[in-house]
Amino acid sequence: LAKTTQPISMDSYEGQEVNITCSHNNIATNDYITWYQQFPSQGPRFIIQGYKTKVTNEVASLFIPADRKSSTLSLPRVSLSDTAVYYCLVVLNNNDMRFGAGTRLTVKP
């Protein structure tokens, strides 16, 4: 099972771009990288998923280098409402959806 490592916490200010990097050194060929966002007292919410290179949607971008041993979630121009915990998942068995420790992002005014 591909283990993920993320920073425990990050601080940012409103309007800044935030990049959260996840390490997954033993990612397998068929594994996808998925990111979730969780607000207090709510279930996690899917943000973005990728396999390689770059993926962008209306919420975030995901950058994955060629060796796929890490990935970076990029949040453009964060606001206070982006304060949340962000989880990186590398899914081995398609149904084996386990969460790592996550990164607690605090956006300050």
Partner: protein, 113 residues
């Protein structure tokens, strides 16, 4: 419209008294999950169903059981809750093995007195 519904939102039980948490979904997804999340921790996978196939995590205590009578409903039974079982319990669904997108309910916050 809520797609994964968990009831109740808050549940209080007594030490050792069996409790059942429920989850229903309108997405017709064939995979359903139960997670336990304690304060300031990541969600911990307890078990999941792929259709009627039950998959238990190796470290899930025997005190936790689950039932899935049909596609729409899944239940978490805690046979003898201890103080350490107080947590948020999250239900999630997924549309099969070819996606990694989970849909979560709002969770049930369980207190054990």
């Amino acid at each position: 419209d809520a797609m994964v519904i968990q009831n109740p939102r808050y549940q209080v039980t007594q030490f050792g008294k069996p409790v059942t948490l429920s989850c229903s979904q309108t997405l017709n997804h064939n995979v359903m999950y139960w997670y336990q999340q304690k304060s300031s921790q990541a969600p911990k996978l307890l078990f999941h169903y792929y259709d009627k196939d039950f998959n238990n995590e190796a470290d899930t205590p025997d005190n936790f059981q689950s039932r899935r009578p049909n596609t729409s409903f899944c239940f978490l039974d805690i046979r003898s809750p201890g103080l350490g079982d107080a947590a948020m319990y999250l239900c999630a669904t997924k549309a099969g093995t070819r996606t990694e997108k989970l849909f979560f309910g709002s969770g049930t916050q369980l207190s054990v007195l």
